[in-house]
């Protein structure tokens, strides 16, 4: 599980490689061949249409060219999916290596096949296709599922580390070799971090939240940085003479850096607000809600890219902004759809990227230069370590909760790098580093984390924790008020107030001030209710037997003894529930032994719960019996609840994704 989709930023970064490869001239070949083949195919079709009368009608014909591209792409994706299934079914594997290794291997395999059969691979990996279609889904998924609170709490460190770290790495690696500017270019992209494998492993290993957020945040932000750096350096190279570069240009570069970053975020936020606003009105056509979410995010990406701003930062900002408000406006099914569709899209993108990487490995575009490759590898690691330690030392002075040495170490050495090439030599070196990071570092991360005994976290969802966290927030804010200090809690508080006062009124359909405690409570109650329904507890007199019980009975008619035993089971279980309620509730309830009262307690509790969820977020608990598709958690279907009454919860038939 842990190795699953945790934002494969790596692949997209690695795909810069494709840009070079394709720019190199291969693309022109391929595109020509596509064009010619497309032309040819058209001719063939027309020829077939106006075929000579002498030909007989062919009963069975084959036309592969027509479907080649979609067919092969689909095959690749399916192959990768099958490989993933196999990977997870065969138990020892997921513990040994991260999933990315497997995908790379599959890609290499496909590449070998294509190379071996001397087949013209479909030009899926055009740089424009990559940037326009494959990259956004991955980033969108990352931004949407990002836990916002820890991110913003650590944002100072993240910005510091991402920004300066990237710069230091870029210059360090770039300057370590001869041809300055070329290598600076190389360095700028090599320094970008690919935390795919690491994040997956970290999540699996449940390392502490701080570390996790640092890596996550850095991954998110280093795109903008490396892209800008790259563009600036490209501009410099176009100036031919090294002497032409004046301090003004460097300042301009820095200014551009800031503009690209902030501009991207700005675009993202604007689009996020617009889409949130629109979802306010979509209650009757909930089918288009996912569409709006996806299209607006994509639009923000494209709009930012038009102006040479950082599209990735834009789409991330859009996802983060949108999520808060959209989640409340859309129906539950739309929400589930959005979630899973996003995951699916990013999975497909990642697969294609890996396949392509495999294909390009086994090609003719290599130039093997041992020295360069080894140097690159070594320098990457060294500079990474240096920058991490240096930056952390400095930033630790300002943090109230500093990272330990162990954290430093893990950050430095467990993080693989991702690169970008410029020439064939670079390409080879790039590939080597990628393979190195994916395989060796990927495989060693697990054991290393355990060995270093990196501090773990223990995340469990519980009401108590939520309550305490809330209390702590308020307590801290209060203490800081007393001291007259300003901290990010104040900022957060102020933002929340602003949010409640203005933003939520505009952007949310039925604006009920939401409390995280209440929503968590509801969520947990629902979970409990589901469990209870599944084990067949809830039923008054009429036996609406849930499916499981029926299956157990194998559809035979229930004999009276069975009925009796079932009643016993139910009573017994309900008795336990009642006892739980009683055991601390001695003020309210006197110990009773009658079953009826036990049931009553249960019902009363659920009524309370139902009442509290009635407004706006109503569950269709009270739907009349007989309605087939009761989907619980379809939010804005606020049907009037029948007052009190029987527990019809046993009527659930829908399935719920937690």
């Amino acid at each position: 599980m842990g190795f699953q989709m945790l934002v494969p930023f790596g692949p997209w970064n690695w795909l810069f490689l494709l840009v070079a490869l394709r720019c190199g001239g291969a693309s022109s070949d391929l595109s020509e061949s596509t064009n010619s083949s497309a032309q040819h195919e058209l001719n063939v079709r027309f020829a077939a249409a106006g075929s000579e009368p002498a030909e007989t009608v062919s009963v069975f014909a084959l036309d592969y060219d027509y479907v080649q591209i979609p067919y092969e792409v689909t095959l690749w994706i399916l192959l990768a999916s099958l490989a993933k299934i196999g990977f997870h079914v065969y138990h020892p594997l997921p513990g040994l290596m991260p999933e990315s290794c497997l995908l790379v291997l599959v890609g290499a395999l496909v590449g070998a096949i294509i190379f071996g059969t001397d087949h013209k691979s479909p030009p899926v990996m055009d740089s424009s296709i990559y940037f326009l279609y494959l990259l956004p889904p991955i980033v969108l998924e990352g931004g949407y599922f990002m836990p916002t609170r820890p991110f913003f709490e650590n944002i100072g460190s993240i910005l510091w580390w991402a920004g300066l770290g990237a710069l230091i790495n870029a210059f360090g690696i770039g300057l370590s070799d001869v041809n300055l500017l070329q290598n600076l270019l190389f360095g700028s992209l090599i320094s970008a971090v690919d935390p795919v494998a690491v994040l997956a492993v970290f999540e699996e290993a449940r390392v502490n939240e701080q570390l996790y957020m640092m890596i996550f945040g850095e991954a998110l932000l280093n795109d903008g940085i490396s892209v800008v750096l790259y563009n600036i350096l490209i501009a410099f190279t176009k100036m031919h003479k090294f002497e032409d570069i004046e301090p003004v240009d460097i300042l301009a570069g820095c200014a551009r850096f800031v503009i690209v970053g902030c501009g991207g975020v700005f675009f993202g936020v604007i689009f996020g607000f617009i889409s949130a606003f629109i979802t306010r009105f979509t209650q009757n056509i909930s089918a288009i809600e996912p569409l709006i979410v996806f299209m607006f995010s994509y639009l923000s990406y494209l709009a930012a890219e038009t102006l040479y701003l950082s599209g990735i930062l834009a789409i991330t900002a859009c996802a983060v902004t949108m999520k808060k408000y959209v989640e409340e406006n859309v129906s539950q099914t739309s929400y589930t759809t959005i979630k899973y569709f996003m995951k699916m899209l990013s999975s497909v993108s990642e697969t294609l990227i890996f396949i392509f990487m495999g294909v390009s490995t086994i090609g003719k575009n290599h130039e093997w230069n041992w020295a360069f490759v080894c140097f690159t590898l070594a320098f990457c690691q060294i500079w990474r370590a240096i920058s991490v330690f240096a930056l952390f030392y400095i930033s630790n002075q300002f943090r109230t909760f500093p990272f330990s040495i162990k954290d430093h170490f893990s950050l430095a050495f467990l993080l693989p790098l991702s690169l970008f090439p410029r020439k064939k030599m670079f390409v080879t070196a790039t590939l080597v580093v990628i393979y190195f990071t994916v395989f060796i570092q990927g495989i060693t991360i697990g054991p290393l984390v355990r060995y270093l005994d990196v501090r773990k976290t223990n995340k469990k969802e519980s009401i108590n924790e939520e309550l305490h966290t809330r209390l702590m927030d308020h307590l801290k804010a209060g203490i800081e008020d007393v001291c007259g200090q300003w901290s990010h809690y104040q900022v957060r508080d102020k933002f929340k107030k602003f949010d409640h006062k203005y933003l939520r009124k505009i952007l949310i359909r039925e604006n009920l001030p939401k409390s995280s405690i209440v929503s968590l409570y509801k969520k947990l109650e629902m979970k409990q209710a589901i469990e209870m329904a599944e084990t067949g507890i809830l039923s008054s007199t009429a036996f609406s037997i849930p499916h499981q019980a029926q299956r157990i009975q194998e559809n035979k008619r229930l004999s009276p003894e069975d009925v009796e035993s079932m009643r016993d089971i139910l009573t017994h279980n309900m008795y336990q529930v009642r006892q739980r309620t009683l055991s601390y509730n001695k003020y309210n309830l006197k110990p009773q032994t009658s079953e009826k009262q036990a049931k009553e307690i249960l019902i009363r509790r659920q009524n309370t719960f139902r009442e509290s969820t009635r407004k706006g977020h109503s569950l269709p608990w009270g739907r009349t019996a007989g309605t087939k598709n009761i989907r619980y958690l379809s939010f804005p279907y606020s049907h009037p609840q029948p007052a009190g009454g029987d527990v019809r919860a046993a009527e659930f038939t829908g399935n719920l994704h937690p």
């Binding site: 502490n208 809330r470 209390l471 307590l475 901290s487 509290s612």
Partner: protein
């Protein structure tokens, strides 16, 4: 703050931002709680001086990396004890259901749309959860009195209080001033 070197509860009312804090009364109370001031097992002081103020503030000290494991544990326990006192308003050493409900109601008081019933159910649910964590499976006749400090520690076991309960004091010289 009063010029005579002592502060009373009314002075806290003058802090504007504190007005909007839902658990305001609890915070103010915490400053005067004898248990936090280490002056007794219960009760409230009427006034506190600067030293007492600093005593309370010291609960929010960030954890130093130079401290060893034992000291870290001690610090953690102190912080948790402060929290426990906030919940346990009648100083009987247990957080009872009533007190818990009180806390939840206060926390949610900023939200006019949430009814008291919901707050009570939430408190009930939280209490149930706490009971299941602390005592595990209970016999039908067992009654769970309330959360003791040890139980409280158990609940907090997985949660990182060190990262949450500290205030960033950039200027540490104030501590030196009181001597």
């Amino acid at each position: 703050m009063a010029l005579c070197g002592k502060v009373s509860k009314e002075n806290f009312n003058n802090i504007p931002d504190l007005e909007l804090n839902p658990i305001r009364s609890k915070i103010v109370r915490a400053f005067f709680d004898n248990r936090n001031l280490r002056k007794g097992p219960s009760g409230l002081a009427d006034e506190i001086n600067f030293e007492d103020f600093l005593t309370i503030m010291s609960y929010f000290r960030p954890i130093d990396t130079t401290m060893d494991e034992e000291q870290v544990q001690l610090c953690r326990k102190e912080k948790l004890r402060f929290l426990f006192h906030m919940y346990d308003s009648d100083s009987d050493g247990r957080i009872t259901l009533e007190e818990y409900r009180n806390v939840v109601e206060e926390l949610l008081s900023g939200n006019p749309h949430i009814e008291k019933e919901s707050a009570r159910s939430i408190a009930d649910g939280a209490m149930m959860e706490a009971a299941s964590v602390c005592v595990g499976r209970m016999e039908p006749d067992q009654v769970y009195e309330g959360i003791t400090f040890d139980d409280f520690l158990k609940i907090w076991q997985g949660i990182d209080i060190e990262t949450k309960m500290h205030v960033r004091f950039l200027n540490m010289e104030t501590i030196a001033l009181c001597h």
